[in-house]
């Protein structure tokens, strides 16, 4: 016969173990969520498992204020938004390189997201072949680190717009956000409040 006080003690210890297990499980789950929040879930680099495809980057050059096409072979995801993000990431990686002709710090992680929104004219319903508005969400770190100047900022905006149109011709308009918010200028000069017409800027055949 087990004494009564030992039974009570056993029950108390069992309850304490269960409660401690529940608390630990809860803390583990919260820590995992906190870790996921800290990471950007969307890929900043194209996954290596994706098939390599040709992408046209419209690369800016400060020396002659020009934007010229450069064709690279990159592994690109199939999703159009992720694909454009990967292409823009590669473009900004070129600008972040030490010998860049248009030096801009930041690199691929400066593109937080790219969204595509169909442009429905009048009451017409948007179709898969409708012209698209691309919304490029830049990080505030990129805007803060961008060299201030009329030429420098204009070339960055121009090369992003032209690159989007070159890789997805349905993109005819481009808007910019910084950390999800509208911002007056990129670094004091280039107007980010307007919608840019990518179709008119696009490479000529």
């Amino acid at each position: 016969m087990i004494p009564r006080h030992q039974t009570v003690l056993f029950v108390i210890l069992l309850l304490a173990s269960v409660i401690m297990g529940a608390v630990l499980w809860n803390q583990l789950r919260r820590a995992h969520e906190r870790l996921l929040r800290g990471q950007n879930a969307a890929p900043t680099q194209a996954p290596l498992v994706a098939p390599a495809e040709q992408a046209t980057l419209m690369v800016a050059d400060d020396a002659d204020n020009s934007v010229a096409p450069r064709i690279l072979t990159l592994p690109l995801p199939q999703n159009p938004e992720a694909r454009l993000r990967a292409v823009l990431g590669k473009l900004l990686d070129l600008y972040a390189a030490p010998d860049a002709a248009h030096p801009v710090p930041g690199g691929a992680s400066s593109i937080a997201q790219v969204f595509l929104v169909p442009i429905a004219e009048g009451s017409a319903k948007a179709s898969p072949t409708s012209p698209q508005l691309a919304v490029v969400n830049l990080t505030s770190a990129f805007a803060a680190g961008h060299p201030s100047g009329l030429q420098a900022e204009t070339l960055t905006v121009l090369s992003i717009c032209e690159t989007l149109h070159a890789n997805l011709p349905l993109v005819t308009q481009v808007r910019f956000l910084v950390d999800g918010q509208q911002r007056a200028t990129l670094a004091g000069h280039a107007d980010l409040t307007r919608t840019y017409s990518a179709a008119e800027m696009g490479p000529q055949p």
Partner: protein
Amino acid sequence: MAAIARPLMLLAAVAAACQPLAISQAPPAASAARFVVVLDAAHGGDDPGARLGNESEKDLTLGLSVKLRSLLMARGISVVTTRESGADVDAFARAEIANRANAAACLNLHAALVNSKSGPAVHLFLSSLPSAANPTFVPWNTAQSAWIQRSNELAGELNAALTHAGITVTLGQAALPAIDSMACPAVAIEVAPQRQTVAQDAATSDDAGFEGQVAEALAAALVEWRADGGQFAAQPGDRRP
């Protein structure tokens, strides 16, 4: 006559009250005889613009504006400036000053450090607005669309003078609210005096020399613009015979 005039006046009053509009027709002949240049030194106040060594862009553009004003006035050209101090003037007020002046040329002045392999340079920018098909009345913030052709001609004149002075020039288009609202031949000019790799202290005296060279070339271009009758060239909305 009065019966016709009254509805017209009423219509004009209603149109003025609805939204700001820029009348983009060419200046009347009487005021066109006066050759006026508007100098718009960019930035000011809490907006310093780019950092160029120890100086800010707002101070450099003001200095260039003062220097250019002196050169132009010495050549008998009337000058209107959008700011005379470090105070900020918003884009709307700048355009209002320029549009009231009936100017033959409006120069929006900028300065920047550019890491260019070609060294010191001047970048000329036109408004990226499309040229307006019917430019008689246009929204205020697209007033420049009626003047794209004239602005292009002015940029050509500036380019020729700067190149003649041995200065590297690049041409481009930019979305700039300051010149988009101007109803005059308008060009944004970015003076890029030095490379980022040059030591800041050593470059200061050279910068002053380069800015002086640029100011001289711009003054020569505007004298040529006046001599060529650039301010009287036909406008898309010009109603004069």
